[in-house]
């Protein structure tokens, strides 16, 4: 009995002091030394457990249980301490690995899309959703398609508005002044119903802050038995709403190839249609509050006759809008030249 009690007490004492030591094991190495010293094969617990064999059998059981409990207790404490020290060590390593997250990142190389191209692609998508097919045509045209068949005879006053580039190559060869020649080309080849848009370059002998000798137009044409001016208004208003969400204005105008004709204006987004910003004349709309975006109208009966359509049966609407103008408005660009100069300092701002 005394043997037994003494062993249990000794075990308890060893366990207690070992536990007490544990808290001062500051590193994983010290902890490992501690493990060998107490829990190793030659350790203090093993040393006591060897004495179990010397106990009488009836005492051995209780002492064995106590020994195992003490060993388990120390092992648990060891694991706990080890986990703690490992996490402390990891924290130290991670602290070492700290980087300055405010440093500039490695940016991948990114190309910048062209503002006019973005407008063209968006416009194409919008009109496609409204049932318009996208077609293209030549930049170099014949006088006949560009003027004659669009009801603009050689001495017509409308040619005042169209200062045209001609080519030496052949008489009557010119750079199209609008995308409207494709109205004729398409109607010559197709029968109604027609719904097309024609994005493309147009050219005029004009060069200033608001006119570029080359610019982008999006032509539109719808011909059917029931097409009305009201439908034209609807299509263009929906386009304006989708592309910029802005207010629109239709006002009477004149084009030889449409009747009635309209000018289609967008409110200026920069000044919200007020014409000025903080007392300064708005640099986008030049104080107008509106920006001319598109000429439009009902296809002139003479144009329909020119392609062999009966104007008493068919009617149509058409427009020719300036994609560059929309880009100016959409991105707050004050000078149309910017669209043709590709200055990276400006292009980088549009991502």
């Amino acid at each position: 009995m005394q043997e037994e009690t003494s062993l249990i007490l000794e075990l308890d004492e060893v366990a207690r002091s070992a536990e007490a030591e544990l808290d001062s094991m500051g590193t994983l190495q010290e902890l490992e030394d501690w493990r060998v010293h107490h829990l190793g094969r030659m350790g203090s617990v093993a040393h006591l457990m060897k004495r179990l064999a010397t106990l009488p059998p009836q005492e051995r059981r209780a002492a064995g249980q106590a020994a195992n409990a003490a060993k388990k207790r120390l092992e648990d404490a060891f694991m706990q301490r080890k986990t703690l020290l490992a996490s402390v060590a990891l924290d130290a390593t991670l602290a070492q690995e700290r980087i300055d997250v405010t440093l500039e990142g490695h940016r991948p190389h990114i190309g910048y899309a062209h503002p006019t191209r973005m407008v063209l692609e968006e416009a194409e998508a919008i009109f496609q959703r409204m049932g318009f097919s996208v077609i293209e045509g030549p930049d170099v045209e014949w006088d006949s398609y560009n003027f004659q068949q669009l009801n603009i005879p050689p001495d017509h006053p409308a040619r005042d508005m169209q200062d045209t580039f001609y080519l030496d190559q052949m008489p009557g060869m010119l750079l199209r002044t609008h995308t409207s020649p494709m109205q004729i080309r398409f109607m010559e080849q197709h029968r109604p119903p027609i719904r097309i848009i024609v994005p493309g370059r147009a050219h005029r002998r004009d060069d200033d802050a608001t006119h570029s000798p080359i610019f982008w137009q999006i032509e539109g044409l719808a011909v059917d038995t029931t097409i009305t001016f009201s439908d034209l208004k609807g299509v263009l208003a929906r386009f304006a709403d989708e592309i910029l969400g802005c207010k629109v204005r239709f006002r009477p105008s004149y084009f030889p190839f449409t009747e009635p004709s309209a000018e289609f204006d967008f409110t200026c987004l920069t000044c919200n249609g007020r014409g000025n910003l903080a007392g300064q004349t708005c640099r986008i709309c030049k104080g107008e509050g509106w920006l001319e975006i598109s000429g439009a109208g009902m296809v002139h009966p003479q144009v329909l006759r020119n392609v062999g359509y009966d104007p008493d049966v068919y009617s149509g609407f058409a427009w020719g809008m300036g994609a560059d103008r929309i880009a100016l408005l959409k991105y707050g660009i004050g000078n149309i030249r910017f669209l043709w100069e590709d200055d990276l300092r400006l292009r980088r701002q549009l991502r």
């Binding site: 001609y166 190559q169 439908d231």
Partner: protein, 828 residues
């Protein structure tokens, strides 16, 4: 056109506020582009009558004026000498604010204020004297009430020459505002003898002159115009010349009918002939220019010589001078196309020709003629001779258009009954008659509306009178499915997005270039002239493709370029790319990576040019910006550009393309390649800009790289459908091989030899080192490649790999004289 509202209001009342009037005009088709106000800053200025003038008691050059302000008299000191007692003048009291913001200060104890000149009123730059008002101006009224005006700047569409006049615009305002139009009838007091006794007129070419009217006024005094006339012309944008000329301009602005006044005494033989010019005939016009005339030009001539280019400008010798006492007033109608052609040939564009060109109505000349005669008699004195000469072709009938029932609705998409249609047309001068029970209307068109010719025009009139905002917003009925974008359209969009993702910025450059921008590209030739077709063919990608499309290598020259900078349609994108690169190099070395996917143009005999979609790329400067992780930064090189092309061609699925060393006029002879298809078709070129060209373009020492591809061909070669190959589940064997070859051997030849010997088990050859220094013998280089071997159906044994490597060694020796220096095995 500038429209002073005081003038307009003589013919129509409008109670609308100015802004509303402008908006109503704009929304009915008369675009008001600007509103200019005079007199808004005249709050402290009043009218005054000069009642006494005396020399200033102290200063010799000054006068002391006593003026009556209606209820009191004031004194003002002035240096001007143009005023006399009785004149009405603008006066401002001490402490008053001038339009320029200055405050009037006392000039000595005698002065209560000052009299003002035009510049001080802000009317013009003129400071030659005090501004003298009309003699009937009441004293003591705010000046703004008497002189203030609003001037509209309106843009008149070319179909409405009738609106290039105050009367025409008054008609528009009357129609849109519902106000009464009031044009007083001109009553003339005529005297003997008849004009027919003073002059004879003969029209030789009535085909060019449908109507010619003439009046004579004699005993006139040519001199300065009265203040109101000068002011009106000035407000309308015209300069005052003398009273006779001013009146003819005034009537032109008022009625839209140009007039010509000339000196009766200078008409030889008192005979006027309207005839075509003779070949070789010359004419000196009022502006001093001499014109060489051709027989398709119409002249107003006397018995001896021309006295005017019909409808455009008078001759210098018959113009009105201070000595003129007898004036002839011509008011005629000329054929618009002829005036237009003559004006263009003569290089003269006048207020008169501008109106005649647009076509003026037949009925108008006598109205303007009488108005002018009346004004001349009133203002210049003299008597109007009895009768007017009026030689005219028969009056054209008033046009009548049948408007079928429902036609307006069919075009506008808004239902209107006859009454509504009538309510929108009648105010503009249309007369409507219903055709029995058919529902149709007969619409009689006003004489001044030659532009209204068919029902669609009437729909336009109704629509603009209704206001476009009144027409409901509809949508085309009937579903029409948009055709899917074409294959080339989809391809182009895909390529554009691919290139953007590759780090290239999308460009849009002008398709017009200068000839010199092409000549510059021929570095070795030092081309002074335009490149010839053979030279041009060397410049463009895939010249054979151009020929295949029936096109040639001539330059497409503009007949009328704006400048030599933009005189040709480009056959290559290179000049635009270079220009963009140069401009950006002025401010950066970073991000210089651009592409343009756009058309180039090649002429075809008897046809429109071949417009070929072309891809151009340029890169230059730094590969990455100088940053904390990239210091010092590296420049891009040939292989950066080549990598982009390889990636692009792989993206397009072009099989078996290859690169071959080549020459290009603008590129470095040792750093240029052609891109070829497996069948040897030329896709394009790439290379480094020739250093000589780079320095002559002042690229600041930057190496720049360019590429052009025939995008039409690339699109045709592109595969749209990809099918994946299964991935082998058996392990790969990776081995490196280093081979010593003569320096002149291209790496592609080494790769080809390895690939040929490696057979189907060789999956990849990647060159990872090219080395030509010690210990590699002089004249040789070492090419090190990493090879990947793999079978689809089994694990390859080392023995098989060894066999393959033996093959490869033999092949290298045989094909390129290569000796394998080393092989090593990678485990993975």
């Amino acid at each position: 056109m500038k429209v002073p509202l005081r003038w307009l209001y003589e013919y129509v009342d409008s109670t609308l506020p100015i802004e509303q009037l402008a908006e109503r005009m704009t929304l009915s088709g008369t675009l008001v582009e600007g509103i200019e106000r005079t007199g808004t800053d005249w709050d402290d200025i009043v009218t005054a009558e000069v009642v006494y003038l005396e020399p200033h008691p102290v200063e010799d050059h000054l006068q002391l004026a006593t003026v009556n302000l209606g209820n009191r008299e004031q004194m003002a000191v002035t240096s001007a000498s143009n005023i006399v007692v009785g004149d009405r003048v603008p006066f401002i009291g001490i402490g008053g604010h001038l339009p320029d913001g200055r405050v009037v200060e006392a000039y000595g104890f005698l002065s209560d204020g000052m009299l003002l000149a035009e510049d001080e009123l802000g009317l013009s730059e003129d400071h030659s004297g005090i501004y003298v008002l009309d003699p009937d101006t009441p004293a003591g009224r705010p000046l703004a009430e008497v002189l203030g005006d609003v001037v509209f700047d309106v843009d008149i569409t070319p179909n409405r020459p009738d609106c290039l006049s105050i009367v025409g615009l008054a008609r528009e305002v009357a129609a849109i505002s519902g106000q009464h139009l009031c044009i007083p009838r001109v009553r003339l007091t005529e005297s003997n003898p008849s004009v027919n006794e003073l002059i004879t007129v003969q029209i030789n070419d009535p085909d060019l002159c449908p109507r010619y009217t003439l009046r004579a006024v004699t005993g006139i005094t040519v001199g300065p115009s009265p203040a109101w006339l000068v002011r009106r012309l000035h407000a309308a944008g015209l300069r005052s010349v003398n009273n006779v000329v001013d009146i003819s301009n005034y009537v032109m602005l008022e009625w839209g009918q140009p007039l010509h006044t000339f000196d009766l005494d200078k008409v030889s033989n008192r005979q006027i002939v309207v005839r075509r010019a003779q070949s070789g005939e010359t004419l000196e016009t009022l502006d001093g220019a001499t014109h060489y005339l051709t027989p398709d030009m119409l002249l107003i001539a006397d018995a001896e010589r021309a006295i005017g280019l019909a409808g455009i400008m008078g001759a210098a010798h018959s113009e009105i001078t201070p000595a003129t006492s007898a004036v002839l007033i011509e008011s005629a109608n000329f054929v618009s196309s002829n005036i237009k052609r003559t004006a263009r040939l003569a290089g003269l564009r006048t207020e008169a020709s501008m109106r005649f060109e647009k076509g003026l109505p037949w009925y108008l000349p006598p109205l303007a003629l009488d108005r002018a005669a009346g004004l001349i008699a009133r203002i210049c004195g003299g008597v109007i001779h009895r009768d007017s000469i009026d030689i005219a072709t028969p009056a054209p009938p008033r046009r009548v258009i049948k408007l079928a029932e429902g036609e307006i609705s069919r075009l506008l998409g808004i239902h209107l009954d006859q009454k509504q249609i009538s309510a929108n047309l009648q105010p503009s001068g249309f007369a409507l008659t219903p055709e029995g029970a058919t529902g149709s209307l007969w619409v009689s068109v006003p004489l001044w509306r030659d532009d209204i010719r068919e029902p669609a025009n009437l729909a336009g009139e109704v629509a603009r009178m209704l206001g476009y905002d009144t027409i409901p917003t509809g949508f085309p009925s009937g579903a029409v499915a948009a055709a899917p974008p074409s294959l080339p359209q989809r391809w182009e969009k895909d390529i554009r997005h691919f290139l953007l993702a590759s780090g290239l910025t999308d460009l849009m450059t002008y398709s017009l270039i200068s000839a010199s921008s092409l000549s510059t590209l021929f570095v070795r030739e030092q081309l002074e002239t335009r490149p010839d077709p053979a030279q041009l063919a060397m410049l463009v990608p895939n010249p054979e493709g151009v020929r295949k499309h029936g096109a040639q290598f001539d330059l497409l020259q503009l007949t009328n370029p704006l400048s030599s900078e933009q005189e040709l349609l480009r056959p290559t994108l290179l000049p635009g790319l270079i220009k963009t690169l140069r401009a950006n190099l002025q401010h950066t070395q970073e991000g210089l990576a651009f592409f343009e996917l756009a058309r180039c143009y090649y002429p075809r005999p008897d046809d429109l040019p071949y417009e070929r979609l072309t891809l151009g790329i340029t890169i230059a400067g730094l590969r990455d910006p100088r940053t904390w992780w990239n210091n010092p930064p590296e420049n891009v090189d040939f292989y950066d550009l080549k990598g982009i092309v390889q990636e692009l061609l792989d993206h397009c699925g072009v099989p078996g393309y290859r690169f071959e060393a080549a020459q290009h006029p603008a590129l470095h002879p040792g750093r240029t390649a052609h891109v070829l298809t497996d069948e040897g078709q030329h896709l394009g070129y790439l290379g480094e800009l020739h250093p000589t060209l780079a320095s002559s373009l002042d690229l600041k020492g930057t190496h720049a790289y360019f590429l052009e591809l025939d995008a039409d061909l690339l699109q045709q070669l592109s595969t749209e459908v990809y099918q994946v190959q299964p991935v082998s589940r058996f392990p790969v064997i990776k081995r490196d091989i280093a081979v010593i070859v003569p320096k002149s051997v291209e790496v592609a030849a080494v790769e080809t030899a390895i690939a040929a010997a490696g057979g189907y088990l060789l999956k990849e050859v990647r060159v990872f080192d090219v080395y030509a220094e010690e210990p590699v013998p002089t004249g040789y280089k070492s090419v090190a490649c990493a090879l990947t071997l793999q079978a689809a159906d089994r694990t390859l044994s080392d023995f098989e790999a060894d066999e393959i490597f033996k093959h490869i060694s033999r092949q290298l020796l045989a094909d390129v004289g290569g000796r394998v220096r080393d092989t090593s095995i990678h485990k993975n």
